[in-house]
Point group: C2
Chain length 198, copies 2
């Protein structure tokens, strides 16, 4: 039996990413992926037993790359706010570089609700955990205090998704900084309102 190589696998995943990005899931055939990757159909099946497994591998690879980019971004500064900015920039860049990834994730979310496997939930949890950690560091360092962090982690990451999918392009060069500033500043709530509500 021939061994599997990372090079071969990369070639097939790149081909699959391209086709899944351009067609509906059920329209993409294993044959097409093999052709696109310039490998035999038998070789493709030696690496991935079916289309679902290939799809999962594709999301798995994207997840690994994503998380590794985020740890690099996080390591760039000791200061929580700068860390948050670096993370936001890394998240936006990553998805901008791979315009089809977001659709692949969406599709996997729809599939999982119907009993499929889901390649992104674990990633989402890890990213939430990472952002939550930086919120906590902001508090400990006395830089900023997020009062309802559970909700604000959801709002933060969901908000970023909207900026990525629906925000204007090309991106403003200071976009990440603007997002973090706007998010941390919230609104100037009038004193009158504060007294009445809290």
């Amino acid at each position: 039996m021939r061994t599997k190589t990372l090079d071969q696998q990369t070639k097939m995943l790149d081909a699959a990413a391209k086709l899944f990005g351009a067609q509906r899931f059920h329209e993409v055939r294993m044959e097409d992926i093999a052709t696109e990757a310039v490998v035999g159909k038998g070789t493709l099946y030696r690496y991935f037993k079916d289309k679902e497994e290939l799809y999962d591998a594709l999301l798995g690879r994207a997840s690994q790359q994503f998380l590794s980019r985020l740890s690099q971004a996080e390591a760039r500064s000791e200061r929580p706010r700068e860390r948050l900015e670096a993370l936001v920039a890394a998240i936006i860049n990553f998805f901008d570089e791979q315009p089809h990834l977001s659709d692949l994730i969406q599709r996997s979310e729809i599939l999982v609700r119907r009993g499929g496997t889901f390649g992104w939930q674990k990633t989402r949890d890890e990213v939430s955990h990472l952002i939550r950690g930086v919120f906590d560091q902001g508090n400990t360092a006395g830089e900023f205090t997020i009062r309802d962090p559970d909700i604000m982690v959801l709002m933060f990451l969901g908000g970023l998704r909207s900026v990525i999918r629906f925000g204007t392009k090309p991106r403003a060069p200071d976009l990440a900084q603007r997002i973090v500033t706007a998010f941390l500043q919230g609104a100037d709530i009038s004193h009158f309102e504060d007294i009445n509500r809290n």
Copy 2:
């Protein structure tokens, strides 16, 4: 030629919503929808020329209902912050009542990137416009001032989507209020930090 009635149409759309919610788009057949709606296949085709048209009609109906619920919510208070809370509650309730709608929208987003029609973009624009309006009212009324409203509308609505899809259930009874409070308050940014950044 027999006339079309709203009752008949409602029956078919309800049946379609149920099936599209439970199966992949390409797995749902017009026959199945007719059977589920207890109408003849010919009748179904008299109302909708194909599955795509039916899908669009489904999203169109959801959009109408959604926007009408949001105007009711908006009318509930003159005060911008309470308005925002009422809108958030209405948005969360609407999607919680129709658990498959969010998947239908996601799917239509994926399709439009591949040249399909898109039933929700206009709705998204209207909701953004509505929220942006309440941000402006908050400013005018002196209740709160959102400094970067373009970005914050995206963050707000994207954040709500995440709360709806990934937030804990059952919902906390004061969830809408907590979201608005957390969002408007942002973080207490330390004075030191402020001086250094602005």
